[in-house]
Amino acid sequence: MKVKIHVRRGAAGRQYYQTYEVEVEDPRITVLDLLIKVREDLDGTLSMRYACRMGVCGACAMVINGVPRLACATKLSDLGTSEIFVGPLPNRNIIKDLVTD
């Protein structure tokens, strides 16, 4: 299955969406794993935070399809769509891409 991920990138005032296409076999993949796949295979310049990857530490909190959630605890199958919009948490100073103060 092809998944389209639109990531809101850049720093404050200079934001834009970049779209990546990732081939996915298992819809149980988490959004974090999808983004890591993007970083590994497509674009290493994408900046984001992730640490424990088990839903405990909260590092990978971001807005996924309009809702703030943990990327590591959100599965593609939870979203019910193969088109994903990802952005930094709102009302915070953006350092780069998905990383906020």
């Binding site: 900046s47 405990v56 530490c57 909260g58 590092a59 990383v99 103060d101």
Partner: protein
Amino acid sequence: MEVLEYDVVVVGSGLAGLRAAVAAALRGAAVAVVTKVAGPRSHSISAEGGMAAVVHPNKTGDSYELHAYDTVKGGDFLVDQEAAITLAYEAPKEVHFLDSIGVPWNKDPDGTFSLRQFGGMSKPRTVFAKDKTGFYIMSAIYKHVKGFSNIHLYEEHLVTRLVVKGGAFHGVVAYDMRRGELRGFAAPAGVVATGGGGRMYRLTTMGFLNTGEMYGYAMRAGLALRDMEFVQWHPTALVPAGVLISEAARAEGAYLVNRHGERFMKRYAPERMELAPRDVVSRAIYLECLKGNGFVHESGLCYVGLDIRHLDPERVKQRLPLLLELSKTYAGVNPLNELIPVRPAVHYFMGGIMTDIEGRALDRDGNWVRGLWAAGEAASTGVHGANRLGSNSLAECAVWGRLAGEAAAAYARGRRPAGELVAEAVKAEEERINGLLRREGGGESVRGLLKELQNLMEGGGGIVRSERASVEALKKLTDLRGRLNNVRISDGGRIYNMELREVLELEGMLLAAETVLLGALLRQESRGAHYRVDFQNRDDRRWLVHSVYFLYGGNVMTKQRPVNVTRWMPEARRY
């Protein structure tokens, strides 16, 4: 260029680092905590099962000496026995300290601490907060640290160099990811508490930041590492993600079963069964898989079942809520009526920066690098020997974090930071990093190299080792070291450049990996977590020695040091 001056600089912000910061701050020191992590998200936060401490000796007929003895035997007698005594005597104080800052320990109706019995412990002596002990500890101590005006946190600062000159510590250089600049920290005293390096391996319970570069950087600064060949595989990581399922499950009575439904541990550890030490249980799972007694996951991974279905569901919900949540999210199973698919994954490094029993960091000859301490998983105090017992690591982090922080503050009193030495180091590091960023050619990607590293470590430094496999892995590692010079960083910016961070991490990781593989190759015996198919027995006559690793002329060298056997002679290790 900026060089900030402090009395004590702590590198790392897990339990050991923050405990050191608090201890130093209470003695009036100005403390900088320099950490690559943001917020209380060091991997201590993912600790689940609990913290070993003899808090109620009378309740269970327990004693400090028994805790120390269990630790020595669990470590297959490679433990420096006085370090185990220190751990046992000091740990209860740390439980009370954490209690005083708000950790919600589970308590029994009579008001005493609830206790669990962990693998290799001969009494229930593990205190806990449900199965999210690390989460509660980190939340409490991070908040506590924030209340000190003399502790400054520098988050998302990756330390790239320890500044050591003339046998003494002077400070650190760090890449401040948020501002995209290098910063120097000058201080007469330092504590390294950077945790482990599970990400050298493909399958690990550790988080993405546990890359272990500091092991390599420490050698570059002239420090020695010890016992790096001993890498702990936790028996019960969730398949396929590798997320930890706590030993607390087995402490609460869970079984391990193979695909025939057999509790196979009866063939490996007839007395302790599922509560044998982790090296024994992980090896048993490995052998069950080898014999074809395991289940096979769709990913191709072999696994066994963790069975909690005979436990009282209400008690499980009360005491193991995280286990239920993780199983559902990451394996899609409900443990109340299904088996949890588990297999071993890398969990902890028994080795680390060689220290003495007080946590003072040593060079290859055993001399103290003045002003420098190491604590927690980053350190090798000698307390875990060849295998760490479950729940001894939170105790270790708190105990040696405090000891190091107190000693560092006392040492710093009356001493001045050497700002100019650190400024020079910042300049040198600036040039090096500019070089990395400007490098044009080279088609290697850092993530490609990391994947190769992870695979070769599993081959040459895995649960079961052999001369042939370790030699093979070392050859591949040499090749990787060469190719590291051809990595191109595609991100041209300096702010939050993750590729730059990954390259810097990988440099240190490759050095650390070499010590693991070298030790796996040279140690011709099986002891604790180090198991050689071609030398299957423990050999106390030749190998009751620590391995010491250091850099000499840019190459990793090794030598041996005696084990501090002061109380208990080595005996056969049966469980």
